[in-house]
């Protein structure tokens, strides 16, 4: 279970959000909403442990994540704005490196299956630099389809640059992950059709310092 | 130690240029730092006063 306690994030002089608390349990999805510049990406980076919050803390299974960074990292998959693809490596090699770094077996069969899921198996041997924006996103998302899945997925605008087919595929994947007791945190501008028994929603516009003062 | 006269004191046994060059530059550098610190403090206060005034105006127009 992931628990946030009174998180606060400041960037320079500006307080992006303050007093943000929530609990995310197994099988639940958290959707982070908010206007542009409200700190959605910052919140996700805090939740990954890449950035430390200016106040408050995050707990994974009851323990603060900064105390056991590596252990926590092994439990999560983060897909950010950047696709984390190397232009000079092929889609398959990129996926293999990502899998190996997160401690998963780098078995070619599984890689191809994951790419197939997102309909980019035919690009497996092409260097990432020749792929289109949408194809690159699909290759990045293929990491989600790699077994064994990490329990916590943190996705920053996963639907950007995807066509309808890929959107549906991702929604199915999210639903399956939630059904098997996984957890998902995501930001998105479009409506998501995901079957889950609980979808939490955090609206960062309701956590700004100005509003609290008022 | 008795230098006898100002001339002797300034001449520093023929090394006046070096000795006084060292002391003068040290003095100049330290004074420059002090002046820089004072102007910086004034600048900060002035800048912040403007900053708060602008913020106050902004609040008033909003309210």
């Amino acid at each position: 279970m992931l628990e946030a306690r009174q998180l606060e994030c400041t960037r320079g002089d500006r307080c992006l959000f303050t007093d943000l608390s929530f609990k995310l349990g197994r099988g639940q999805m958290l959707r982070v909403a908010g206007a542009n510049g409200s700190g959605k990406t910052s919140l996700l980076r805090i939740m990954c442990g890449l950035v430390s919050p200016s106040a408050g803390e995050l707990r994974w299974q009851g323990r603060p994540i900064r105390d056991e960074r590596e252990e926590y990292s092994r439990n999560l998959v983060f897909i950010g704005h950047l696709n984390a693809l190397k232009d000079d490596l092929t889609a398959l090699e990129n996926l293999q490196c990502a899998a190996a770094l997160s401690g998963k077996p780098a078995d070619v069969g599984r890689m191809l299956a994951a790419l197939e899921r997102f309909g980019v198996a035919h690009c497996a041997e092409l260097p990432a630099k020749v792929l289109s924006q949408g194809q690159r996103r699909r290759v990045a998302l293929a990491r989600l389809a790699l077994a064994p899945a990490a329990p916590l997925w943190i996705l920053d605008e996963p639907f950007s640059a995807l066509d309808v087919g890929a959107v549906v595929e991702l929604e199915l994947l999210l639903a399956a992950h939630l059904a098997s007791d996984g957890m998902v945190v995501l930001t998105t501008h479009q409506e998501v059709q995901v079957v889950a028994h609980a979808i939490l929603r955090v609206d960062l516009d309701l956590h700004t310092a100005a509003l609290r003062a008022a | 130690m008795n230098w006898g006269s100002w001339q002797n004191f300034l001449a520093m046994g023929g090394y006046g240029l070096y000795v006084w060059g060292s002391y003068a530059v040290t003095l100049i550098v330290l004074v420059a730092e002090i002046v820089a610190l004072i102007t910086r403090r004034r600048g900060v206060i002035e800048h912040l006063a403007k900053y708060y005034a602008a913020r106050r105006r902004n609040h008033e127009t909003e309210a």
């Binding site: 590596e70 950047l82 696709n83 | -």
Partner: protein, 222 residues
């Protein structure tokens, strides 16, 4: 842990292989800088022999420093660095992998080509041998210290010049003892003491630099 290090190394070497030009360019830079010195000071053999260790070492420093821009910056831009921080492996280990691959691509070629350039400067055989050994021990230190500078200046404006400003003063001891070892052989006093001290620097920087670099990377990603 070793597996993750192996993967970082493997990936970086593969990338370097696909972009061979970058590696070759750094090497050509080294050769050109070294070859310019005789043109500047004149072709007199005894003078060149005296200068050779210093010239070769300074050129090695510069070549190594130039290639630091490729150490973390591309990973930072395409997001793979974020993923490395979240890999679930100690970051120090991954940093070690990056440093080793940096050395293999920028340090080792210098070691291999240095004897040829030493011949241009009329260095005797034993001095050439010591030059190679000193570069072999010293260039990893350059990569290790450089990794700290590269991590500190990651994504900062004007980082190319800044990294030189930060890293070159820290290279001074390596330069002194690296060039000193070759000079010591030439003057007949033996280079063991120099090489031992270089080895000491290597040990010290192996222990400390990856930690500092990893800490700097975490800071840079905030």
């Amino acid at each position: 842990m070793i597996r993750a290090l192996g993967w970082v190394l493997r990936r970086d070497l593969l990338l370097a292989f696909r972009r061979r030009g970058d590696v070759v360019n750094a090497l050509v830079f080294f050769v050109i800088v070294v070859s310019l010195f005789p043109l500047g000071v004149g072709p007199e053999a005894s003078q060149l022999r005296n200068m050779a260790p210093g010239v070769l070492w300074v050129a090695a420093l510069l070549a190594c420093m130039l290639s630091l821009a490729r150490l973390y910056a591309p990973d930072h831009q395409d997001g793979t660095l974020e993923q490395m921080l979240l890999a679930g492996e100690p970051l120090v280990v991954l940093v070690m992998g990056k440093v080793i691959s940096h050395w293999l691509m920028s340090g080792l070629p210098l070691v291999l080509i240095a004897p040829l350039l030493g011949l241009q400067f009329d260095l005797p055989g034993d001095a050439l041998a010591v030059l190679c050994v000193s570069l072999l021990i010293g260039t990893p230190v350059l990569s290790l210290i450089g990794a700290v500078g590269a991590a500190l200046t990651l994504g900062v404006r004007g980082s190319g010049v800044l990294v030189a400003l930060l890293v070159l003063p820290l290279y001074v001891p390596v330069l002194i003892f690296g060039a000193g070892s070759v000079g010591a052989v030439a003057s007949g006093t033996g280079a063991e003491a120099h090489l031992m001290l270089l080895g000491g620097f290597l040990a010290l920087s192996l222990v400390l630099a990856p930690w500092a670099s990893a800490a700097a990377l975490r800071i840079a990603m905030e």
